[in-house]
């Protein structure tokens, strides 16, 4: 199993979730995060003083997935989250050793 972590622009969240549903991925955990990267923030004036926004609002999706679905998942996330602008985000993949469903105690693929 793999843990796919995607950092995307907030307004793409619904699209990505729907795209994942379509390939049968029905579980996602979402976190509001702030991102710092190539996409630069901007400087604002507030009462005549400078106000730098370094961090941009992003959304992080964590998706536990069976290894064989990985490529397909990456593909649909890219498809839905891409707006061809800097700052569209990243996908990170790590190995997931075990998954347990709290309610039933099921583990492994069953639990996803």
């Amino acid at each position: 199993m793999k843990m796919v972590t995607a950092i995307i622009k907030p307004f793409k969240l619904d699209d990505v979730r729907e795209a994942l549903s379509e390939i049968g991925v029905n579980g996602v955990t979402v976190t509001e995060v702030k991102g710092f990267g190539r996409q630069k923030g901007h400087t604002e004036l507030y009462r005549g003083a400078e106000y730098t926004i370094d961090f941009l609002p992003k959304v992080k999706l964590e998706i536990a997935i069976a290894a064989d679905l990985l490529d397909r998942a990456i593909e649909v996330i890219r498809g839905a989250a891409n707006s061809d602008k800097i700052g569209d985000g990243k996908i990170f993949v790590t190995d997931l050793e075990e998954v347990i469903r709290i309610r039933t105690g099921e583990s492994g693929r069953e639990a996803i």
């Binding site: 509001e32 702030k34 604002e44 004036l45 926004i53 370094d54 961090f55 941009l56 609002p57």
Partner: protein, 421 residues
């Protein structure tokens, strides 16, 4: 000694106007809080900016030309309002000629103060309906025209007693402005909304209507309480005289009925929303209370308290149906202003003949038609010109990011929402 009595009466009626005017000015805060509570947090700074600015612009424009256009007194730039050295002698003389019969006497300055806050009210109605998508500066440009020309002309045909474009006199009764102020504001708003279109995401392609919840309901509730309180000045001051028994009693009835209608409206909306949606919908109850207030405004002095309560209740029910109906027609009004002030404003006008024998249904219909026709038409033209000159709608990207960021460069709640720092 007669002069002394007269001086006291003058002072009392002037003070009554000033207190009423201060209460109506307070309504500006009510509109600002109501609208700020019912929009999303990303559009809050902008709606606050619009509200403060429109009030300020209304005060300036009405001083420059509006008051003169509407009442033909005071002069452009209010240069005739000061009174001058002979003020006291003049007042006493004209009063003596009337045999001290207790005619309405008060400072012209207090009258202006009372009238100017009404203009601002009409304009405040517009800001709510076009919220979350209209350009700030386009809105302010409209405010200049609305408060300088559109409203004053309409007001001159009604309260100002002039003929409509010199053609005919309106025989029409609107005590404190269900039509002249509220429906007029709603007509201007409707014209704007039709040109603007709905907020992105409000209506699904499948015809579904999506909720866009307001960010701060305590703020919206506070705004409603402020409006409720300010309305005592709005309606109470519109008796235009306090200083004799009959007038004072009339002012008291107006306070009582204004309160009763608002209470009725809240109760009506609370129960109908419970029946329709299965829950107690706070925002609908707030709209219901305001609807009660708008409905009674056309005639708050003649109904009995029971009638006032019932009129309010019906208005509270009506406004809930109106809001959901407008949504079905895809007329997107984030705060329900068109329903509360427009639909119920019209309803209020139609109620007048029920308790005021001086009014006829026909007269009310004609008056309502003229007001709506003029304000809607003139507004449509004005909005269209502004649209051509500078555009009226913010870009799709700005709408997604929020008008606060695009127009004001400033968040309303920078620490409460996740926007990067």
């Amino acid at each position: 000694m007669e002069n002394q009595i007269f001086e006291l009466q003058y002072a009392m009626d002037t003070f009554y106007f000033l207190v009423s005017g201060a209460l109506v000015m307070w309504m500006a805060a009510g509109f600002a809080m109501l609208e700020a509570g019912l929009v999303r947090s990303k559009n809050t700074t902008e709606i606050l900016t619009k509200n403060v600015a429109l009030y300020a612009i209304a005060c300036v424009m009405y001083m420059v030309m509006g008051y003169q256009l509407m009442y033909g007194s005071g002069g452009f730039l209010l240069n005739g309002i000061m009174g001058g050295d002979t003020l006291v002698a003049d007042a006493l003389k004209s009063s003596a000629e009337n045999g001290f019969n207790g005619d309405s006497v008060y400072s012209g300055a207090s009258d202006f103060f009372f009238q100017v806050v009404f203009v601002a009210t009409a304009m405040s109605i517009v800001s709510g309906a076009v919220a979350e998508r209209m350009k700030l500066w386009a809105f302010l440009a409209f405010a200049v025209v609305m408060t300088g020309v559109i409203y004053p002309l309409e007001g001159s045909w009604t309260w100002g007693g002039k003929e409509v474009f010199g053609l005919f006199a309106l025989n029409f009764s609107d005590f404190a402005g269900s039509g002249i102020v509220h429906m007029a504001g709603a007509a201007a708003a409707l014209a704007g909304v039709l040109l603007l279109g709905a907020r992105k995401g409000k209506y699904g392609k499948d015809g579904s209507v999506r909720a866009i919840p307001g960010a701060n309901l305590p703020m919206a509730t506070l705004g409603t309480y402020i409006l409720w309180m300010g309305w005592f000045g709005f309606n109470g001051g519109s008796v235009l005289k306090l200083g004799d028994i009959a007038s004072a009693h009339s002012v008291a009835m107006v306070f009582l009925n204004t309160n009763a209608a608002a209470a009725g409206g809240a109760v009506g909306a609370l129960f109908i929303a419970r029946m329709l949606f299965g829950k107690a919908d706070l925002t609908m109850m707030l709209n219901g209370a305001l609807a009660g207030l708008v409905a009674i405004t056309a005639e708050p002095s003649t109904p009995t308290p029971l009638q006032a309560t019932l009129f309010g209740m019906v208005a509270g029910i009506l406004v809930v149906f109106s809001i959901t109906t407008l949504d079905k027609m895809r007329i997107d009004d984030p705060v329900g202003a068109i329903s509360v002030h427009g639909v119920v404003g019209f309803f209020g006008l139609m109620l007048v003949p029920l308790t005021n024998t001086g009014a006829t249904l026909m007269g009310q219909l004609v008056g309502a038609g003229v007001i709506f026709g003029w304000v809607f038409g003139a507004s449509l033209v004005t909005w269209t010109i502004i649209k051509m000159l500078m555009g009226i709608r913010i870009s799709e990207e700005d709408e997604a990011a929020g008008a606060d960021y695009a127009e004001c460069g400033m968040e309303a709640y920078p620490e409460f929402t996740n926007t990067g720092k």
